[in-house]
């Protein structure tokens, strides 16, 4: 597998990366390369240049910030999966990161690359929408802006990132007492990407579910909320029966165009999503209590 030729630039700061982007029309940012390089090697894309973000220190690391956790765009899935800060404040993100691909993929792939690429079968977009994450974006002129995760993912491999913009970090809120969140995944046996990914975030008060957020990915082009499931859970006691009844509504919420391929058709995905939702909800309920 041989990529077509391209120029290579290594940026040492976000500002420099922006300058390089402006100076090289048709250039692409390079993070872990785990999505970008296969596309090049299959000769499905031929960018004029790659701008490597790998040496920009300010884009790396996980730290507590503003009542939540700030994750630099160039933080690898492996670091996220093992981050004690995340485990404490918003464990579902680490839980999802730990299920990405295999060890080699987690050691190279980054959260920034994953969300910027916005593969429908990726894991992090689903959980980031479920926990209400915020994307930090550096604009072309040096301006920065933030976009809520729910607004960030706009379509299959399409995001709110504009030309010349660089995603700098993802901020996730701490879940807080009484809130539990969990992610359940049906991994494709070859790629390990999510055929179905289900994230549940539940807030429990006095044994009853006060608030439920249910987001699925893999089955849909972008992370998608299941409102009927959430509604059925809200006010329930989260018993096994209540969870099963609520999860049974998942197929009814999945009405639009669904993902499907030779391995798992859209019809199949639609019907079994509920089973994974039930698992995520049960795990989230146990954590919330």
């Amino acid at each position: 597998m041989y990529a077509p030729s391209f120029d290579y630039h290594r940026a040492s700061s976000v500002a420099e990366a922006q300058k390089l982007l402006a100076a090289n029309p048709g250039a692409k940012l390079l993070a872990g390369g785990h999505s970008l390089l296969p596309v090049l090697k299959l000769r499905l894309a031929a960018p004029s240049a790659l701008i490597d973000l790998g040496r920009i220190a300010e884009l790396k690391g996980v730290s507590a910030a503003n009542g939540g956790v700030r994750i630099g765009a160039m933080t690898t899935h492996a670091e996220i999966a093992t981050s004690p800060v995340l485990a404490k404040s918003c464990g579902i993100v680490a839980e999802a990161a730990a299920q990405i691909g295999d060890m080699a993929v987690r050691n190279r792939g980054t959260i920034g690359g994953s969300v910027a690429h916005a593969d429908p079968a990726a894991d992090l977009p689903t959980v980031l929408v479920a926990v209400g994450a915020t994307m930090e974006i550096a604009g072309a002129g040096g301006a920065t802006r933030t976009v809520a995760a729910a607004d960030f993912f706009q379509g299959m491999m399409t995001t709110a990132l504009g030309d010349g913009e660089i995603l700098t970090a993802v901020w996730v809120p701490a879940l807080g007492a009484g809130t539990g969140a969990a992610y359940a995944k049906f991994a494709h046996p070859a790629s390990r990407y999510a055929v179905i990914g289900a994230a549940a975030s539940l807030t429990v008060k006095n044994g009853a579910c006060e608030r439920a957020i249910i987001i699925v990915g893999g089955v849909t082009a972008t992370p998608t909320a299941l409102p009927s499931v959430a509604a059925a859970l809200t006010g329930s006691n989260l018993s096994a029966e209540a969870i099963a009844a609520a999860a049974g509504k998942a197929a009814g919420d999945l009405t639009g165009d669904l993902m499907g391929d030779v391995f798992a058709s859209s019809e199949y995905r639609r019907h079994v999503t509920g089973a994974y939702v039930a698992r995520a909800v049960a795990a989230a309920a146990a954590r919330a209590r």
Binding site: M1, Y2, A3, P4, S5, P38, L42, R43, D102, F186, H188, P189, A190, S191, Y193, V262, F263, A264, S265, Y268, H271, V272, A275, Y276
Partner: protein
């Protein structure tokens, strides 16, 4: 240091270099002034080439040459098929190295580019302009027989490559017998992609001054490459050297001869400089042979009390667009002759149709024909057991051939060498506590859990094989093996073998054989293979034959050495040869072991030759060309235990246990490793692997992101047990073990899953049993109920 290493689980000497990245594979090699080839492959499954313009590519940076069929056809003979199946109306279509006017599968070579770097070669591929007129394609062998698509080869009516029949007894009468219980099944043997870690690769060096060509090639059989290569390229066999360095997995796909390898040679000869070609992974998936691909319509009949009386069927075997090297023998000889399995079945009949399709050629893939036989039989037996209301293990017990030590004839005409099938069945049932498992299953079912147990018994034919038989069945080569044993003056030993280990560990096990037979330290033996200029002729590694045949050759050569050493020791000890005794590498006069000559003493004295008996030649070296009198027939019994979730269709493999009998084990750790790998590859077919073609002939599962191979983290600990039944005819009693696991694990897994879902009314699930397919089988059964 003890010399009794036969039977000890010593570590593989191959592993340190392989595990530390120090193995040298073909693509690791580099020669001065080396250029790189890339193949332009057809993007269409069936099309005529309207026009082909290479002029832009020829002018691209770094490009040295662009060749098309017009250039290669005059210089290279078409690829030969080397298994000329008799009595089958074999119709071999011409297989040009580069397509001339028609492309017949996605991957057919249309042009070759040679450039200074691989990047430049691939850039230039994009500049070749080809206009195609597409033709209708067919990918399914049964549909090919029915005339779907456009005829693939003008010379082949009905796309039929052959029709072959196996028959023994009177199957039709057995099925018509009053009271016969008949079960029927339609089975799709999913097409598999072998996926060796090392893709194929060739490096060719031409020495114009001497007319000598060296080809480094990742192959399971370098001497066959030399033989066929000389025919295709016209380079005399004595001037063609084929070297197979480290080979990173073959699984049958590296038996076949391929156009690209010889085209690489052609480029080197034309350009008079070394040329290398290495497949990309995507290219490997379309250009390297696939395996299996049968549609089977089969039936079994028996009595109400469980006696199997007949097996009958029709098979449509997909051969791909051209007949690959050994392809016609795989779904016929290696499949149909095994239809009796380990059972007393008197009546069998099967018609096998080989069909051309617009797909990658199909060849041997681990097990090669035998898994397809074992699978259909074991699946039918479970159906039969269910139909007559008997336990599947019990039905097997009723029908197994009783223990035999030296020959048992079956209805297909084969003579099995030795077997103790009940022994294997008893051992596995005791090990897993079969009755206990059935009890657990009943409890699980009562709680709404879907637990399943699969149990299968099998026998397979391997150690290919007697050369006379090879000739009779149309195999265009011999099937003997060779070994040269050379003792150096210091007592160290080199063994040169004609066959080609590539992961099976014979560098270790063959050293163990030498050590055990002649008492030298196992570390004093080095086993050399894979270079036609340095090793004796041999036919390669496949059909679990390297130890079964090559190991026998080695044993015979060692016994010649021992005879000579005994005679020389007698001479040196001034005793008659008849009075000599031997133990543990020491030769002595009977009753006087203290005054012995060691094998090292003898090696020195034979090499210096100061004092040889009259008429004895100097040196301590012997060779053997061993042609086995029969095949060998390993056997065993496997059990799988699963839980199936009907809501998602997910299968959880809880337990996998096996008893395999390959005779005496030279190295039990290596046997265990072979069983592991084999079992896992068979599970791959059952659960994950399938080359899916769209109707237009595009390979949909064309990358490792789509085509799922088994991974360690989704498998349970495999419990490996064995029994030991020596082969009566092998000098060491050993049988092959490379393919056994693959041959039986697919059906064991299948039977477990169907067993789990029986309470829901499911009686079949297509392979691979993906969650969706299991889920659909459950939905269909629910609707039917």
């Amino acid at each position: 240091m003890s010399s009794r290493t036969f039977g000890s689980a010593i570590r593989r000497r191959e592993d340190p270099r392989l595990l530390t990245g120090l193995g040298t594979y073909t693509d690791d090699l580099s020669l001065p002034n080396m250029a790189h080839a890339a193949m332009l492959r057809s993007p269409h499954a069936h099309a005529t080439i309207v026009s082909l313009d290479t002029s832009k590519a020829a002018k691209a940076p770094g490009v040295l040459a662009v060749y098309t069929g017009k250039d290669t056809a005059p210089a290279l003979k078409p690829m030969p098929c080397a298994w000329l199946l008799p009595n089958a109306g074999l119709n071999i279509a011409e297989y040009p190295l580069v397509a001339l006017d028609t492309v017949r599968y996605v991957g057919d070579i249309v042009a070759v580019v040679v450039a200074q770097t691989p990047y430049q070669a691939y850039d230039a591929l994009d500049l070749i302009e080809v206009k195609y007129k597409t033709l209708p394609a067919v990918v399914d062998p049964e549909k090919s027989a029915k005339g779907t698509g456009a005829p693939i080869h003008a010379s082949v009516p009905g796309n039929q490559a052959f029709k072959w029949t196996v028959a023994g007894g009177d199957a039709d009468a057995a099925f018509a017998a009053p009271g016969a219980v008949v079960v029927h099944d339609r089975i799709i043997q999913n097409r598999l992609i072998p996926t060796p870690m090392e893709t194929r690769s060739a490096l060719a060096q031409w020495t114009a001054a001497t007319g000598e060509l060296t080809l480094w090639n990742t192959t399971q059989n370098p001497h066959i490459v030399r033989f066929i290569g000389s025919l295709v390229m016209g380079v005399p066999e004595d001037k063609l050297r084929v070297v197979a360095p480290e080979v990173g997995g073959g699984f049958g796909a590296k038996i076949a001869q391929y156009p690209a390898d010889f085209l690489t040679c052609f480029c080197a000869m034309k350009l008079n400089r070394p040329v290398k070609w290495t497949e990309t992974r995507s290219e490997n998936y379309i250009a390297t042979t696939h395996g299996r691909d049968h549609v089977q319509d089969v039936a079994l009949c028996g009595t109400k009390d469980g006696k199997i009386t007949g097996v009958r069927g029709t098979v449509w075997a997909g051969m791909g667009a051209y007949l690959s090297t050994a392809a016609p023998g795989i779904p016929t000889i290696l499949h149909g002759l095994m239809l009796c399995g380990p059972y007393l079945i008197d009546n069998v009949k099967e018609d096998v149709y080989g069909l051309y399709t617009n797909t990658t050629p199909v060849e041997a893939y681990r097990g090669a024909g035998r898994p397809e036989a074992t699978y259909l039989l074991e699946r039918l037996i479970d159906r039969f057991a269910h139909a007559i209301g008997k336990d599947p293990a019990e039905v097997r017990r009723i029908n197994l051939i009783p223990k035999f030590d030296n020959g048992h004839n079956v209805a297909t005409g084969l003579t099995y060498d030795s077997g103790n099938y009940h022994g294997a069945l008893d051992k596995i049932m005791a090990h897993v506590d079969y009755a206990g498992l059935r009890k657990q299953q009943a409890e699980a079912r009562a709680k709404g859990r879907y637990m399943g147990i699969g149990i299968c018994t099998y026998v397979e034919v391997c150690g290919l094989g007697p050369s006379q038989v090879a000739g009779a069945i149309g195999f265009q080569g011999g099937l003997w093996e060779s070994a040269i044993v050379r003792f150096h003056p210091s007592g160290k030993v080199n063994v040169f073998i004609g066959t080609k280990p590539h992961g099976q560990g014979e560098e270790t096990t063959f050293a163990q054989i030498v050590s055990s037979e002649l008492g030298v330290d196992v570390n004093d033996v080095k086993v050399m293979h894979g270079d036609t200029d340095k090793t004796p002729m041999g036919w390669g590694t496949y059909g679990s034959r390297t130890t079964a045949v090559g190991g026998a050759a080695l044993a015979v050569a060692l016994r010649k050495i021992k005879d000579k050493a005994t005679a020389l020791a007698a001479h040196l000890l001034e005793a008659p040869v008849e009075d000599m005794d031997y133990a543990d590498g020491r030769f002595f006069v009977k009753g006087a072991p203290a005054k012995a000559k060691t094998i090292q003493d003898i090696a020195l004295m034979a090499n210096v030759a100061w004092n040889m008996p009259a008429g004895m030649e100097a040196g301590l070296e012997a060779s053997s060309f061993y042609d086995p009198p029969n095949f060998v027939y390993p056997f065993g019994a496997h059990v799988a235990v699963v839980d199936v979730d009907p809501a998602t269709g997910a299968i959880d493999l809880k337990r996998y246990a096996c008893v395999d009998d390959c005779g005496p084990q030279i190295n039990p750790m290596i046997v265990e490793g072979q069983v592991h790998g084999g079992v896992v590859q068979g599970l791959g077919q059952a659960l994950w692997e399938e080359a899916i073609y769209a109707d237009n002939g595009q390979l949909v599962t064309g990358t490792l992101m789509d085509y799922a191979i088994p991974r360690a983290d989704v498998l349970p600990e495999i419990e490996v047990l064995s029994t030991v039944t020596p082969s009566p005819h092998h000098p060491l009693g050993v049988k092959g073990i490379g393919e056994a696991g693959t041959i039986v694990s697919t059906c064991t897994m299948y039977n477990a899953v169907v067993d789990a879902l029986r309470p829901l009314g499911v009686d079949t699930v297509p392979m691979p049993m993906t969650p969706e397919r299991v889920w659909r089988a459950v939905q269909t059964a629910k609707k039917g109920a």
